[in-house]
Symmetry: C2
Subunit: 336 residues, 2 copies
């Protein structure tokens, strides 16, 4: 059977490039695409991606479970994971948990395990004890801000450092009353605790008050939550001059409330989000945000799983830290 490698050799390109063409990637030049296509046609290559997995007793499917697809961050991340998995001839079974503990437990315990080789999970409510109690033996890679004392690979950016850089940016702009939008009501399970810690540390380092009245709890992390949290903050005694939101959707909701109240962004209140979803770039006031390297997160997660599946990884759980950067736009810097 003609392989990806045969096509790569014939076309004189890397296997990755052939895979990119076969999987319909955007970032391939038309000339390169034509060259690879010619080799595919000449050799009569037919992508039979499953055969190789089946020979090894695998299904060629990995599961990705995120809290919600309605949040563009997770939709964008899911797209990146699908693309990263395709590089290894893996297909992704995507599920959303609603951030609910029962659904997270179900997924974690190997729901549909007969059809999947491994799981990438971004948990909200799961505890370390839940993970330690896992009996399912297929590999599990964790994503996201929750910290676990359990022997599983975990991919997460440095949330404390990222949050500190966002708050630092606001302080550098002269803001003094910087609110945090998007803590959870039950502090015992605080998914936002690292970003909140970063907020607190940076304010304290600058000699500014990390006032609890400036921390607004929300039920979730959507636009509605942000809009309501901003309204609650504005109805309070002492108005902030800046807002650091848990994520971009909360920030976008907050900006909607500010517009409805006739407040100017950033003149009256500056806003910083977190996630760098495309929506923020196109918002009425383009949103300053922390941009996590989503491609790196996706690639590292898939690489970890694939390594575990090929038995080549050490038994030590991996802690990988993809990069992040602050992207400054009008919601803090104003119009150029």
């Amino acid at each position: 059977m003609v392989s990806l490698k045969d096509v790569a050799q014939r076309a004189g390109v890397s296997i990755k490039t052939v895979s990119n063409v076969v999987n319909g990637y955007q970032h391939v030049t038309p000339a390169m695409r034509e060259r690879v296509q010619r080799a595919i046609d000449e050799l009569g290559y037919r992508p039979n991606l499953t055969a190789r997995h089946l020979r090894k007793g695998r299904t060629g499917i990995i599961a990705l479970a995120v809290p919600e697809l309605g949040n563009p961050y997770f939709a964008e991340l899911a797209g990146a994971v699908i693309d990263a998995a395709a590089q290894h001839d893996y297909t992704v079974l995507l599920d959303h948990t609603g951030g609910r503990r029962d659904k997270e437990l179900l997924v974690c315990q190997g729901f549909r395990s007969h059809v999947m080789d491994g799981l990438i999970l971004s948990p909200i409510e799961l505890e370390s004890a839940d993970l330690l109690a896992r009996t399912e033996s297929s590999p599990l890679v964790l994503l996201g801000e929750r910290e676990y004392d359990a022997p599983f690979d975990h991919i997460a950016i440095d949330n404390v450092a990222a949050a500190r850089s966002a708050v630092r940016h606001l302080i550098d702009l002269g803001r003094r009353r910087i609110a945090f939008l998007g803590a959870r009501r039950e502090s015992a399970r605080e998914p936002a605790h690292l970003r909140l810690r970063g907020w607190r540390e940076e304010l304290t380092a600058a000699g500014l008050p990390a006032d609890d009245a400036l921390v607004v709890a929300t039920d979730g992390y959507g636009r509605e939550d942000g809009a309501r949290a901003m309204a609650a903050l504005l109805d309070g005694a002492d108005r902030p001059d800046a807002v650091f939101a848990y994520n971009d959707t909360v920030a976008i909701g907050a900006m909607r409330t500010l517009a409805d109240r006739g407040l100017r962004i950033p003149e009256d209140i500056a806003v910083v989000g977190f996630d760098d979803i495309e929506e923020g770039r196109f918002a009425g006031v383009p949103l300053t945000t922390i941009s996590p390297d989503k491609e790196a997160i996706a690639r590292l997660a898939v690489d970890c799983l694939v390594e575990r599946l090929s038995g080549g990884a050490s038994t030590e759980p991996r802690r990988a830290r993809p990069g992040h950067r602050l992207v400054v736009r009008e919601s803090t810097a104003g119009r150029a």
Copy 2:
């Protein structure tokens, strides 16, 4: 083994309610959730959703292939399909095709067919001939605006009527030069042709020019495409006083360009989108749009597949028409 039905009987609720609780739905009251949970605990029910499928030689997995997850419409639709599938104990394997013909063909031809019972596909480039040439025997349900002369179930709202109502709304507001943003360059494969036809028909019916100079082609249907198309339109000879965009992301891109050029929405140019993604509601100027009934689309698609899988459906292909409505917001009506 304890079944969903046993739990429903013990709790004195419908099977659907139990399924809602097990699958972690939002719209269940805490009291109801507790009642169902008590029955689950008492009976020792463990959701073993796969057993029933495996007994019938099925995997319990259906595939959903959409053009792109980065478009919130498809992310929201995917969420609705996952929820609708869960009602039938099905899990969804989600893939994105990039709207590319090769990937669509791959998916359509039963890529990974050993692990999936059926496919829901929203095609962009696929032709009727491609569908007629399909050799894979598992059920296929089509979504979206493309029209096919092929014996497959097809779920789509009435795009012509929806587009006409959007244009009618702009005419009623006194707009006379109404542009269409988001046609494709190659007219032979015009995924937007029904919405474009609706635009043309309604203008003609009103005695207004359906001027080709008012139709702007784009490479894709994203925010960047909309921003560029709007810029091209504004750089042209004759400015429009309203824009009807192929979808909300194109409309949101267009609104960004209008803001950058210092034009007022809707005073200078009114904007209508299509899809009713949540982002439009929270946009700098909340977006008037056509709201397709996404839950109905998802439910009808899953119901069609499940019917085909249980052999209970007639062999006639079904044409289902979920509803839609015009949602008027500030981008046409201005601030209240």
